[in-house]
Symmetry: C2
Subunit: 137 residues, 2 copies
DNA sequence: TTTCATACCGAAAAATTATTCGGTACCTGA
DNA sequence: TCAGGTACCGAATAATTTTTCGGTATGAAA
């Protein structure tokens, strides 16, 4: 496991919040689950811009932080289901807020980005932050 | 300048929002300015957990995104002042929301972190995310 | 016994972000 | 001219996060 060299101040709310759901694919996963996806295989199928491994890692972090609960249904085929806890649900309005702000103000960001990258087409490339389908529309 | 290898989807609000104010020291800088600090030298004095260079870099990004406006008063000594634009002000309630969530739920994060790092004291270390003094109180 | 679908994980590599170091330039007063 | 305060910036390095690759395990059915 990676061990931080520089410690974090876990009494700062923003640090805490970003630690819990401020990672590239977490908003995307939380969003997909809030829309009904439950099983890892569903999520893998639905979120195709990253590898299953990435999703698995973030899922287990979200479980550790009690944003998701995990239920194992033994049998065949093995079935695992994730769902939002109450704590997880409480993140949704904040994500919506962030998304709303971003949608409203994306033009300025695009403008700045265009000033910098005068090259490349964006087709088929991957992103630092994950597009969150329903939230992002 | 660093050139991204993986492009971002700037139509996703969350991606945009995180690009604008989701960086280690930006909430801290925005917060300090909202509380009255204006000049770079003041910010350097007030935010001591990182180097002046870091603050300068983030300031100019925030100006590019029109979160801050920059006024140069020629004369001696040279005086530069940054202040929040209307767009910048619109971030404050979102930061407050993030902070509120984090404060309310920091215990679970601490618990998880303790399970992992059974070592090190936190004294004098630096953080991935910056403590935001008034917001974080 | 092999195969297939499920779910998961370790470790290295790549990408990105943050930090440090050592500068420049401007203006003024000593 | 030199020192001292202000504001800024390039480039190398370090730290962190994300991605890729190649596995393990379980149970059932062919």
């Amino acid at each position: 496991m990676y061990e931080r060299k520089i410690q974090e101040d876990l009494d700062c709310g923003i640090i805490v919040a970003m630690k819990v759901f401020g990672a590239k694919w977490k908003p995307c996963i939380i969003d997909a689950i809030s829309r009904g996806a439950k099983r890892p295989s569903e999520l893998h199928r639905e979120i195709t811009n990253t590898s299953p491994r990435v999703i698995d890692m973030q899922l287990s972090e979200l479980v550790a932080y009690e944003i998701l609960s995990k239920t194992i249904h033994p049998g065949f085929p093995l079935c695992v289901e994730y769902s939002l806890t109450e704590l997880g649900e409480s993140i949704l309005p904040i994500l919506a807020r962030l998304n709303e702000w971003g949608i409203k103000n994306k033009e300025i960001v695009k403008k700045v980005s265009n000033q910098q990258n005068v090259n490349e087409d964006l087709t088929d490339k991957k992103n630092k932050w994950s597009t969150v389908s329903s939230v992002c529309q």
